[in-house]
Every structure is written in structure tokens, then in C-alpha cells.
Point group: C2
Chain length 255, copies 2
């Protein structure tokens, strides 16, 4: 099987011009097939604030009412996505920016209301691997924004880590998939303020221990849970690291 | 040559849910290859206002400073584009939303400053027909937002009528192109308040006469100038009409 690298970037990396450019330079060096999945939550929160729309988060997940859906559609699908696409084109990479609605790539359903009403948040049902394979075979680089659709005309907000792991899982039927979760740290840290405390090999028992102890918390929990699920479903390798270490492969490896 | 229909929609049509849905229903009925090009200026103006950014227009063209570029990138590339894509997918059309940066579709240069500094406004240099033909051959429907790029990482704001006529002109080398400029009126009107005064056949001398008399004015002038240029460069048919008359072919025909 051919190799396919999926890079997920979020947080501060995509929202600052310098760190975004550094990321795109690193991304350029990856040989073979590649996909970039991005977030943009901070920019969305900032934009919402400017528009007088309050941001409510529950366990790192955004409550998405219809106003907030407009904000994330603009910010993820427009502002962040097209900046990345233009930056990749400038580096000679033939990128195309996509949401889950484009080409019917990712179908989802609105999350059912249990204790919390997340609003227009989508849980993924289906990834259209054949459309992605056509693009990849044409040497096109998909740049995927964290939005999905329900197939009935409704856009939905879906966590970027989840998008990345769903793409990785589905595409592992056709490629040897290397999934990198890139953020501003060198990996998962025992002490969040000390970059020398990277956990290099993380297995499920150790993850559960650190989670119970509160060492791994907040948004890192669903990221790692997604990662372990993808790993068990056949993704070749999953690494949590910063953009500088895409090439070295150093960081937290799920084992 | 195969037939290709290019529909350009702007103004009130795309910015109201009911009229957008009516348009998408009409668009669904077009047989054969098709492309949708959209505007979104009113939504951009409204969004800019909410963000405290002033909108300045010169002869129907938007002055685009860096703040305004962010607004149009969000609104055209995100909000309007993805709503249309989700709506087409819901109708069983395999749409993909694109800007001129995606797949390197439309390269432009920043308009040189003469009397007026338009800011980040792009004049089109080159349309990448081969990428569009690949999509069309796969039965994909491109939905094109009025944004271009300079190939060096800079996104640019480009008038949607211009995008439509540039696509039509370039693609007329490969297809029999039918270009429809759709807006809320039945065609170009002698009396803007009377829909019974549609000019059915408009040639260049009549256009120049009406322009001199002020009957044709504002944004209609560049729209028609673009249209006549495209017609002279080989576009099969150019019609200015409302969405309801896409199927009847009634409206103002450039001859």
C-alpha cells in the first residue's frame, strides 16, 4: 500500500501567520500523498466575540447554535481554509480546500440531545473515500475544514481531531496512514509547563492512568481517545507533536 | 462540443434562504455540465458593518483593505459558498466549493493603483481550464466564489461577474458555453421599476446608447461589458435573467 500522511493542525499553529508559514514549510517537506486537516477554534471564538456572540464550551466542545454555525462556517470554511490553500499553492502544492459537504466527503448527523444540547454539531456517519482517492491520485492535496453535512442541506460543526481520525481510519483501507496531531507542544507532557517531560510512548493503560490522575485533561482526552480508536482500526502510526518534529518523527507515539 | 451552462447568481438571490432554495431547484433542472458562480456582496457589507468595518464602493466595485479581505474571504469562501454546496448536495448534485486559489483555478494580480487604490482586488490573468475539465468529466459541479490568488500566497477579491465571464471565455475552447447572469429582475430593464420593459435583444450599439442615456447604469455596466467581451471571444450565448427563467431562456440576450 502507498503511504499517506494526514496532518492535523489546530490551536495556535494555524492562527498566527509566522507559525502557519513554518507549518506549511514543514508540510511541503513531506513526501508522497498528504492531507491537511485544520481547526480554527480560537479565531472562531474571537470572531464570535466581535459579533457579540457568546462562546460556550462543554468538555472542550463548542455549543453551536445557528449564529455560531455561521461563524464557524465563515472562519473554518473560509478564512482559515483559504489562507492555507493559498499558502500551499504558493509553495507549489496543488491544494484544494474542502469541508465535509464538498464532494459529499463527510456525512454526519446532528448530535442527539442528552444532557447537553450541542446544537449544530455533527457526529460522523460516513467518509467518502473514493472522492478523496480520486483527488490524491491526481496529486491534489485536500485541505479539510472541520465542517460536515447531513446530506439534507444542513452544515454541521465537527471537531477537527475527529475529522482527522475518521479520515485516517477510512483511508487506512487503501493506504498506510501516518496521522500526526500537530500543536504547539513537543508532545503529550507530564508537566504541561515543561517540554522536557514528553511521554514518548503512550499505550492505553498509561493513558487511563494519566487521565485518572488528571495529568492528561481537557481537549487532550478526546484527541487521544480518537487516536487510540483510529490505531485499533488499522491506522499505521499516530503521533502527537509540533510542526518542527513532523520530519523527525519525535513526539508522543500511540502504541 | 458538449454543452456547459454557467450560472452566475448574486445580489438578493443568494442571500435569502427562500430565493436561494428556488435558485437551487432551478439549477437542478439544468441538464448536462454546469458551474455555479456566486456573489455575496450584500452579506459581506452587512458582516463588515457588524464588525465595525466600513464598506467603500467605487463604481460598484468594493475597496478591499486587509480587514475587508478577511470579511469577503469568510463570507464568499465560507458562509455563502458552503451553504450553496450543502444545498446542492441535498438535491443529489455532487458540488464542490472552490475559490480561485483552490486547485490553482484562477490566477490574478493585485490591481495597480492609478486614480483609485482598490486594495486587495485581483484582475484575472489565467483560468486553469484543465482542472475544471477534470471535475466536470467526473460529474462534479464546481461552485465558484469570487476570490482569486496571485500564486504567491495572497488571496484577492475579484468581481463575480468577471469570474463568470472569464470562466465562460476560457471554457468556450472546450464546450459550447451558455452563460446566465441571474439576478432578481427578468432582464435588463428600460424602466428599472417596470418588469414589462425587458430589453430582449441587446447589441453593442444599443448598449452604448442606453449607457449614454443613463438607462443602463451602475453595476450593470461592468456586467454587460464583461458579457459582450465573452460573447466576442466565443461564448455561445449570454442571457441576463432571473432564476425562474433559466429554463425558459427568456430575458436579455446579448447579440
Amino acid at each position: 500500500m502507498d503511504r499517506l500522511t494526514i496532518i492535523k493542525v489546530g490551536g495556535k499553529v494555524v492562527e498566527n501567520t509566522d507559525s502557519l508559514n513554518a507549518l506549511l514549510d514543514q508540510f511541503d517537506k513531506i513526501s508522497g500523498n498528504k492531507i491537511l486537516v485544520h481547526g480554527g477554534g480560537r479565531t472562531a471564538t474571537e470572531m464570535a466575540k466581535k459579533l457579540g456572540i457568546e462562546t460556550k464550551m462543554v468538555e472542550g466542545r463548542r455549543i453551536t447554535d445557528s449564529d455560531m454555525l455561521e461563524v464557524v462556517t465563515m472562519v473554518y470554511g473560509g478564512l482559515v481554509n483559504k489562507k492555507i490553500v493559498a499558502g500551499l499553492q504558493a509553495r507549489g502544492m496543488n491544494a484544494v480546500g474542502l469541508t465535509g459537504a464538498d464532494l459529499g466527503l463527510i456525512k454526519a448527523h446532528k448530535r442527539p440531545v442528552k444532557d447537553i444540547d450541542y446544537g449544530f454539531v455533527g457526529d460522523v456517519d460516513d467518509v467518502n473515500a473514493s472522492e478523496l482517492r480520486v483527488l490524491i491520485n491526481e496529486n491534489v492535496i485536500p485541505v479539510v475544514a472541520p465542517l460536515t453535512h447531513d446530506g439534507k442541506g444542513q452544515l454541521l460543526n465537527t471537531n477537527a481531531d475527529t475529522i482527522a481520525s475518521e479520515l485516517a481510519t477510512e483511508l487506512s483501507n487503501y493506504y498506510k496512514v501516518y496521522l500526526f496531531y500537530c500543536f504547539e507542544k513537543k508532545g503529550v507532557l507530564v508537566d504541561p509547563n515543561d517540554e522536557s517531560t514528553v511521554i514518548y510512548d503512550l499505550d492505553l493503560p498509561l493513558f487511563n492512568k494519566y487521565k485518572a490522575e488528571g495529568i492528561i485533561s481537557d481537549g487532550m482526552i478526546p484527541k487521544l481517545e480518537n487516536g487510540f480508536r483510529a490505531k485499533m482500526k488499522g491506522v499505521q502510526e499516530i503521533l502527537i507533536t509540533n510542526p518542527e518534529n513532523i520530519s523527525t518523527g519525535r513526539g508522543t507515539r500511540l502504541v
